[in-house]
């Protein structure tokens, strides 16, 4: 599965899909998209890279994919705790920055993105590694 065409194409495709996944993630609040979809798209990009170059996606020395997933969970939890000041949890807290409204739901969605991305990449990593076993 590593013909020259795919190898060259995938370099660009990975970048484009990753960009697309970010785009999907950011537009999610107003249009179809969101953290789950973005995360899945990013994971697909990553696994494509892994398949083509026979490398296990994210370099396993720095980050375990499951660590990314767990970090995502933590971010979700944190974004929920931010509203603790008003004695509830998981309530959106919003800030106005010029015309843009930023809020904890964005943070929360980023957490979803990471969780999905990490979990799927983790699975794919192991599938890929399994080929190398005898």
């Amino acid at each position: 599965m590593s013909t020259l065409i795919i190898r060259v194409a995938s370099k660009y495709l990975v970048a484009i899909i990753l960009l697309y996944s970010l785009f999907m993630f950011l537009r999610g609040h107003n249009f179809p998209g969101g953290g789950f979809i973005g995360g899945l798209a990013a994971a697909i990009a990553w696994s494509m890279y892994g398949i083509v170059y026979k490398k296990t996606g994210i370099t396993r020395n720095k980050f375990e994919a499951s660590t990314i997933s767990a970090a995502g969970l933590l971010i979700m939890l944190l974004s929920g705790i931010i509203s603790f000041g008003s004695k509830t949890i998981f309530k959106g807290v919003w800030f106005d920055i010029g015309p843009i409204k930023l809020g904890t739901p964005l943070l929360f969605d980023a957490g979803v993105y990471l969780v999905v991305f990490g979990a799927v990449v983790n699975i794919v990593n192991f599938f890929e590694e399994a080929f190398k076993w005898k």
Binding site: M24, H29, P32, S66, F108, V112, N122, I123
Partner: protein, 721 residues
């Protein structure tokens, strides 16, 4: 959370334990300091908890007082094994916190939760040395017995709650015999009463500081706490008093026998604990005597345990006959043992004497005093049995005196025993407050010396008799035997193990397809059966006029599925499935849910990638299945398909409650600041649900990874060079 409210102290315990665990990685001394300072704060706080009932306050004072002593003691106990200290103190403070939570609870449900938490944390403590199979076994026994009893108690609480219309303890007025019986199960298991007494001696596998805490002031005292709490509730129930009296008497006698027949110091003490708890059950009708007896017991018993721990640590044995003459060499340990044993037997001027006077006085006209006479004589004999071998001869081998800080905590316990013995008046006000709450209106007049009264003569008789009997009983070595209830327990659990293994084997040795048959078979049988019986076959009429492109998409889905079914090559099959899935996604778009469609698209893509991974190693040609198998498979799959469709269809014919949907639609823009209602609902309105779902995704990732790690050939990641 209000500062310095009851829940603050529970939280403080948990946080303190975690902090000590963490600090211990850096410095043992700082960890000790943290623990001691923290438990001092907890103890000090108990004096200002005026919002609590007197009963809770007495118990929480006792618990945190002994807790402080135990914390100090464990610092010295673990000074040789510093690495383990963090884990121990973490468990200990989890336990401490749950015990305080239990005492602070104002509803039955809360009480139950903390009750079970003490069971679980004591499991951790008993099994602290998890390398030893005996410790594991002991921990399991403790957990199973107390946990099972706790479940009975929960049922009893539910009865009480329904009968009184409230779970708040202050609103519970009366209870039925059923509730009473169920709750008694909880009390008897937790307090190690006959016939559940066997878990307590086993639990002596715990490190000694834990034993000192669990079996003097905390765990087992939850039973008497509940007895005191519920005696006014069950005052009209015959069973309550009778069961407490008889079971208590049986345990008191069994416990004395256990203590006299064992050689291991901790087991002797365990027997005495069971016996003392039995006496507390008997005293349920006289809360005044019960409270005093309980306080005295927790003081002397914790000091005794700590003393035993010192001997164990220094000389590596707890056998009384191997510790011959050990007390001659060290005056401090001698003081600890003699003062606390004197308090146990009830000698002047110990606190135990005051308590025992009151006990005898309150039972003076009761026949049960005579069996109690035997029990108390047994205490005397046991005390002599403990002291005599350790005093009688000089022993050069056991000449090593413990460090001063080691002896500090048990000595402090003894000092309190003496002080409270001489000045029992200190307790007057708080006990009177408690008694008033429990509906007993007596003025309490605690004094050390009441003159030569009947109870005093009675006490003297007990002491005299124990000295007379001691030479005949105390110094013999008895053969240890396993009690009948323990045998029954072991037999029961062996049966449980065997049959659960058989059940597992019966369901678990098939291939994957068999699992699917079982799962779908049950679904068809039960859900399908329910469907036909209850919901009939009346469906909403189909809406007319599906458009041509909708038909076309549906056809695509079906065509993909057919392709997957008929494919000889596995990759063609995968493509067929994907086609079917993409068709579904198209349908989602047609029925205006783009988010769902996007997700479906991506999931399909991902699935194809993963399936390719799996099948790349398999031969790509699928062998034709046998006809019979095909038939069975089609019956199952068509059945499940039809069932799912009919359920969906049927569900549609019921009216939806659209209040949530309307709320989301109305407020997505104003409150959630987003146009995409689906996303706003997911990340804002229902964020907590999403957190749970994300956790499931995370677990799926980790789960798949661990399945891979189980496969032969897995090489763990190499360390970085």
């Amino acid at each position: 959370m209000e500062l310095f409210s009851p829940s603050f102290y529970v939280a403080l315990c948990f946080v303190l334990g975690a902090t000590a665990l963490w600090v211990n990685k850096v410095s043992f001394i700082s960890s000790c300091f943290t623990v001691i300072a923290g438990s001092t704060l907890i103890l000090a706080g108990q004096f200002y908890m005026h919002e609590l009932s007197g009963l809770s306050q007495i118990f929480s004072l006792m618990c945190s007082g002994v807790g402080l002593l135990v914390a100090i003691y464990s610092c010295s106990y673990f000074s040789q094994k510093r690495a383990e200290f963090g884990r121990f103190i973490f468990f200990l403070f989890l336990f401490f916190g749950s015990m305080l939570g239990l005492l602070y609870s104002e509803t039955l449900i809360k009480l139950f939760v903390y009750w079970e938490m003490t069971s679980i944390t004591s499991f951790l403590l008993i099994g602290f040395n998890y390398g030893s199979s005996k410790a594991r076994e002991a921990a399991r026994t403790g957990l199973l017995v107390t946990g099972a009893g706790g479940l009975f108690m929960l049922a009893g609480f539910v009865f009480l709650g329904i009968e009184n219309g409230s779970y708040s303890i202050s609103k519970i007025q009366s209870g039925s015999s059923v509730a009473c019986a169920l709750i008694l199960m909880g009390i008897f298991t937790k307090s190690a009463q006959f016939p559940f007494q066997f878990w307590l001696p086993k639990a002596m596998k715990a490190p000694t500081p834990a034993s000192a805490f669990l079996h003097s002031a905390a765990m087992v005292k939850a039973g008497p706490y509940l007895i005191l709490l519920l005696t006014p509730v069950f005052k009209d129930v015959f069973l309550w008093g009778a069961a407490l009296k008889w079971i208590g008497l049986a345990s008191a006698l069994v416990g004395v026998w256990m203590s006299v027949s064992k050689r291991d110091l901790k087991e002797i003490l365990a027997g005495l604990t069971i016996s003392a708890l039995g006496v507390m059950c008997i005293l349920s009708s006289t809360p005044k005597a019960l409270i005093l007896f309980l306080l005295a017991h927790s003081l002397y018993k914790s000091a005794l345990f700590m003393g035993v721990g010192i001997l164990d640590q220094k000389f590596g044995t707890r056998d009384i006959f191997k510790l011959q003459g050990v007390l001659r060499n060290n005056v401090f340990i001698l003081a600890v043992f003699s003062i606390s044993l004197a308090s146990m037997v009830g000698l002047i001027p110990m606190f135990g004497f005051v308590a025992k006077e009151l006990v005898i006085k309150s039972l003076l006209n009761d026949w049960i005093l005579f069996p109690l006479f035997i029990v108390f004589t047994g205490y005397g004999v046991s005390a002599i049995r403990i002291l005599w071998p350790m005093l009688n001869s000089e022993n050069k081998n056991l000449k090593s005196s413990p460090e001063v800080y080691f002896i500090l905590a048990p000595l402090a316990g003894c000092v309190i025993s003496v002080v409270l013995g001489i000045l029992p008046q200190l307790l007057n006000s708080i006990i009177e407050k408690t008694l008033a709450e429990l509906g007993v209106l007596t003025s309490l007049d605690l004094h050390l010396w009441h003159g030569v009264t009947k109870p005093f003569l009675f006490s003297m008789g007990i002491i005299l008799l124990s000295f007379l009997l001691a030479p005949f009983i105390a110094l013999k070595v008895y053969k240890g035997r396993v009690g009948i209830s323990e045998k029954l327990y072991e037999h029961f659990w062996r049966l449980v193990r065997v049959y659960s293994q058989k059940t597992v084997n019966a369901w678990h040795h098939f291939g994957t397809s068999m699992y699917l048959y079982i799962f779908f078979g049950f679904a068809l049988l039960i859900v399908g059966g329910m469907f036909l019986t209850y919901w009939g076959a009346v469906f909403l009429p189909l809406q007319d006029g599906a458009l041509f492109y909708e038909w076309a998409t549906a056809a695509l889905v079906v065509a993909g599925a057919m392709l997957a079914l008929r494919a000889d090559n596995i990759f063609v099959g995968v493509v067929g499935l994907a086609l079917s899935g993409y068709g579904m996604a198209l349908l989602f778009i047609l029925f205006s849910s783009p988010d769902l469609a996007l997700t479906q698209f991506l999931v399909e893509t991902m699935t194809v990638i993963l399936v390719c991974f799996i099948f790349i190693k398999f031969p790509s040609n699928v062998p034709r299945r046998r006809k019979k198998r095909v038939l069975v498979n089609s019956v199952f799959s068509i059945g499940v398909g039809v069932l799912t469709i009919s359920i969906m269809w049927k569900v549609l014919s019921y009216p939806f409650s659209s209040s949530a949907a309307n709320y989301f639609l109305k407020n997505a823009k104003t409150l959630g600041h987003g146009e995409n209602v689906v996303n706003v609902a997911i990340v804002d309105f229902r964020a907590f649900d999403t957190l749970g779902e994300a956790f499931v995704v995370f677990l799926a990732g980790v789960g798949v990874a661990s399945l891979f790690k189980l496969m032969p050939g897995y090489q763990p990641k190499r360390e970085k060079e």
